[in-house]
Symmetry: D2
Subunit: 348 residues, 4 copies
């Protein structure tokens, strides 16, 4: 049983971490911090946790965190990087659910997040926590940059066809992504209120979104190709639902790609992955099939001989955030990879 | 063509007033104020209005408002009462959609709204704008207190049976009310965000709600009975929908009430009211049938011989707010009562 | 490890039983029947189950069911009673999620369900499966009538105050209940389609609902009082949400009730119940706090000295159906009562 | 005042036609047919119409329809073509909201709709009713094929850039479209029920959708180019909302296109169109801004120098169906083009 700290336990990734970790067989949450709720019981704020914990929020106390085996940062960008070095020095592992350790390109980080990086050396040693693609590195890591929700769908959706050489034209990628509203977090914002979002649909961030540079860097790493992804399009949309994310990815096939059996390629690539499900040809993955589950489902279509359409769904708060973070923790501590993550999606 | 001012044009009652008034045959909106958006075009904030107006927000300028024939206050409680006397002195009529002129009982006003009333004398001369029940007074009024949304359903739901003497036991009234989220207004509030309200249901204000004293005072006026409504129950609930309100009202019948033909009583009472619809026996009024329409629908049930259940639905932003305000304006200026209010509910 | 059969595995209670039982430590689903889907894999119909089972639907084969330790009927009313005797004779326990074993009053059963009862003798031996109230009998039962969703909230909401003598006026009870749409089941029905229910609210069944006689019989059993509940009011409403149910219960207090500390009474009554949560005074239980969890939460209000308002929420598919059914199974087989039922509600 | 018949008045396009036409200054609905509801008042089925009409459904009587000036077919595919010739012979104009007169290519019609065309000669004389693009022909037409909802967004979204020569690579078009659920119509279908669609998102029809051939034929007509659109991608998705449609259209620009001022091009193209709104650069059109309004809004983005992203929103039941049908009627009878269509979108 390891001891866990969570910094920033009042947001949706925080409560989702608690939902998972309070039932985890190998981990116990010992510390839960909040800038504003010091002393308040967490089940007073989130009554869904009543009966499952007596934890109280505390102010951030670095010594309390150093006494943990691992600390999750479910905080705004820029918090984890301030404390990571001290924690690692104390032999405490760090998993950041924000962006501090996602981008190796510091110029991009500073451009999109408006922050100077506080520990660029540690960043170099950190590992990008896309569990299925970086499993070996994650097992050895002290610091994990947990992927963004959109980038997770894009990477798992494209990895098989990018790792196979010569099947696709990488510069042609268009990602038309759709997310539930919980992705925007739990904060008082006029744009997020119910009456502004229900029974409505819109695109946002068309001119530029922080996940674009993360996607570019990640696809470069997956494919081993530089400079071919800079001009890919990424257009996110907001769906009137709480949880769920679907990315529709369009990519031009080469002649070789047009002839390849891509369905078999994908099934083989993910044959041993319990959290990535390649659905049968003709399937239409629905977000509700992964509601609350650490699962990503993929379906492939070739509506034209040289056009591939990839559909990838996940629960943005689980495989897109807290679930993948726990999956990474499991890898780092040599637990069963699905410990605490065996729940079945809530349908309907 | 009268000239209209709207104070507070960035909230939902404000934009709803504009939706109605911009197509009104006898009124033109000349002034639209906002504390924060001075100089901004209103159709930039509410693109639904694009093509229908070139109005811009301005700071509140009392002289500009005095040049209007009527001014609507779509503001927080406490604003209209600061300006009403000066406007009335300038022969400008005032319709307040907040609570400043709803309660004649100043002690209750101060208790529930935390405000000293700025013009108690004018309050005495003001008229409570429940159009169907106070039509004659409204026609003569200079200042209207536009009813709260919940109280509108309760008054119109109960008026026929309260005005007929001896049919009901007034102290037995229980109002179990349900409202869409837009009733809480357009403001950045954590409790109002999409992910906190969608796919969820709850009661609120069980221990006490501002509309309770308004209901009590109104029912006293309707029935001519004092002190019998103080202990009625009013429990509001929040429905995951944008617009719409349903009040389920329970009341014990006297022996006379048990024998009366209440369906006929209601049909006769509202026979000449175009905005109040008594549905046939056995009907179940749905909020969507009044979406966007200045309409209230009622159905009656007697599931037990001495128990009456009244169902009343409306669009909280229309008959429950902006629509009734315009209906009152029409009465005050001798326009056709349905001028600008003929739109049919948007179903589905 | 017991073997389990599920008759009727294509509805929402069916898939919910699977969601729970496929992760249950002491039970294995061996048989899953459907009238229409024989041979189809269940995870083809419900992709949320992909990776968790390879079960296929089969036609109803009584011998296959008799080989199970327990059979759940997640079928329309009238199916379980046809097979229960044969199963019990084969030492297979029966848990019916429909109404066949809910009402001891056969006249009421026939009136409301239009069916002659197929096994009235077995009905007498069956046990009404409100787990917390009938625990000892359930442990000994061969046949369980799993309670209706609405009646579960009403019984758990009222039990403490009814079992204490002389606190309330039982004939005054009014139940204003609100349910998500999944309670209507998974069937092609015009009234159930999205565009008829979203952004809408209505009452239904005001003139009479099948759960009324069930509530009456149950409250008689709880209180030991006959003939005082026949005229209680029960008015259900439909909320535009998938899961969730809230009952607002109004009841008049006696003088003794007005003086009693009801909050303490409730807390004491449920002190050892892990699935019933009496919230602190002033709380407002939200349906989302129990989404997917086998949990019922209660809050009490006394808005007037002699009026009690009880708020009770549950997930209609879990504590209101499949979860309580598994809880009963756990009792019948002496498993830990929370085996398979430890999941935390999915919030947001 | 013209007399109007509506064939098929029980679906969503039927009730939407009524919502518009019952308030139309120049038209009166005289005949309303239904295969199943003969003799029933329409406001009994759709209580939103109570107080606005006393119309009853009748069986389809061709003579009654021939006495009308215009007949709308709000029916399944294949009905209008059976009656159109006889109506036209009687000097009655026909507006079909189904697909019978959308496709000039009979092979495509038969392939996608499974029907032999009943009146191919009349089809040749019919006019495709995209009001803004075919206005002059519509004015002279006897038979209108009212466009599909998706194709309306695509044509109005692409027309300016396709009609200008040499700006885009037409074969590169990708249409990622999203629609509210009402587009699937009002029918009892398991896939359409609330609990299957709420809080969910999915693609559908990825392998092929009936609107693809309509889009191809329409874009050929707009651009004057044949055979360059056959391989465009069209992927529709289902949004958990009632009304609203957003198409995100991706297209590669030529060098000339990359240098052109496309914002100005669009603004000029639609400068005189009251129902097409080119929003300022940087805008994000939201479906709710057109809820209930006969309006389509467009925004343009160039996230990369040679990539154009076009966002187009409409209410699928209004500009995408009934509203455009009335707009076409207005053109055919020389009414003001916006007669009956001046309503402002219902926001929130």
């Amino acid at each position: 049983m390891i001891s866990v700290g969570i910094v920033g336990g009042t947001g949706y990734t925080g409560v989702e971490l608690l939902r998972i970790l309070l039932r985890h067989p190998n981990a116990e949450v010992k510390v839960l911090t909040s800038r504003t709720e010091n002393g308040r019981r967490v089940d007073d704020m989130f009554p869904s946790l009543r009966g499952h914990t007596e934890l109280k929020y505390s102010d951030l106390d670095i010594n309390a965190l150093k006494a943990c085996d691992v600390v999750f940062f479910a905080t705004p960008h820029g918090v984890a990087m301030k404390h990571a070095e001290e924690l690692v020095a104390a032999n405490t592992k760090v998993i950041d659910l924000a962006a501090d350790f996602r981008l190796q390109n510091l110029a991009q980080f500073e451009k999109w997040y408006g922050l100077d990086h506080a520990c660029p050396e540690l960043l170099k040693d950190s590992v990008y926590g896309l569990s299925e693609l970086n499993r070996d590195k994650i097992k050895q890591a002290n610091v994990i940059g947990n992927p963004g929700c959109y980038p997770t769908t894009v990477q798992l959706g494209l990895a098989p066809v990018l790792k196979a050489e010569g099947l696709v034209k990488p510069e042609s990628i268009i990602i038309d992504a759709k997310s539930g509203v919980s992705g925007a977090g739990r904060k008082a914002s006029l744009g997020m209120i119910y009456s502004e979002n229900a029974d409505n649909f819109k695109a946002y961030g068309v001119a530029g979104h922080r996940h674009h540079p993360e996607i570019v860097e990640a696809l470069e790493n997956i494919s081993g190709q530089k400079d071919v992804f800079n001009e890919i399009l990424f257009v996110p949309h907001l769906v009137p639902m709480i949880r769920g994310m679907l990315s529709t990815i369009y990519i031009d096939l080469t002649d070789a790609g047009a002839e390849a059996d891509l369905q078999s390629l994908y099934e083989a690539f993910y044959a041993n992955e319990q959290f990535v499900d390649v659905m049968p040809a003709g399937s239409s993955p629905e977000t509700r099939t992964v509601r609350g589950a650490n699962q990503l489902r993929i379906a492939l279509y070739k509506p034209q001989p040289k056009k591939l359409v990839i559909l990838a769904v996940q629960d943005n708060l689980v495989k897109g955030a807290a679930g993948q973070a726990v999956q990474n923790m499991n890898l780092m501590f040599n637990f069963a990879e699905d410990a605490g993550l065996q729940g079945i999606g809530l349908l309907p």
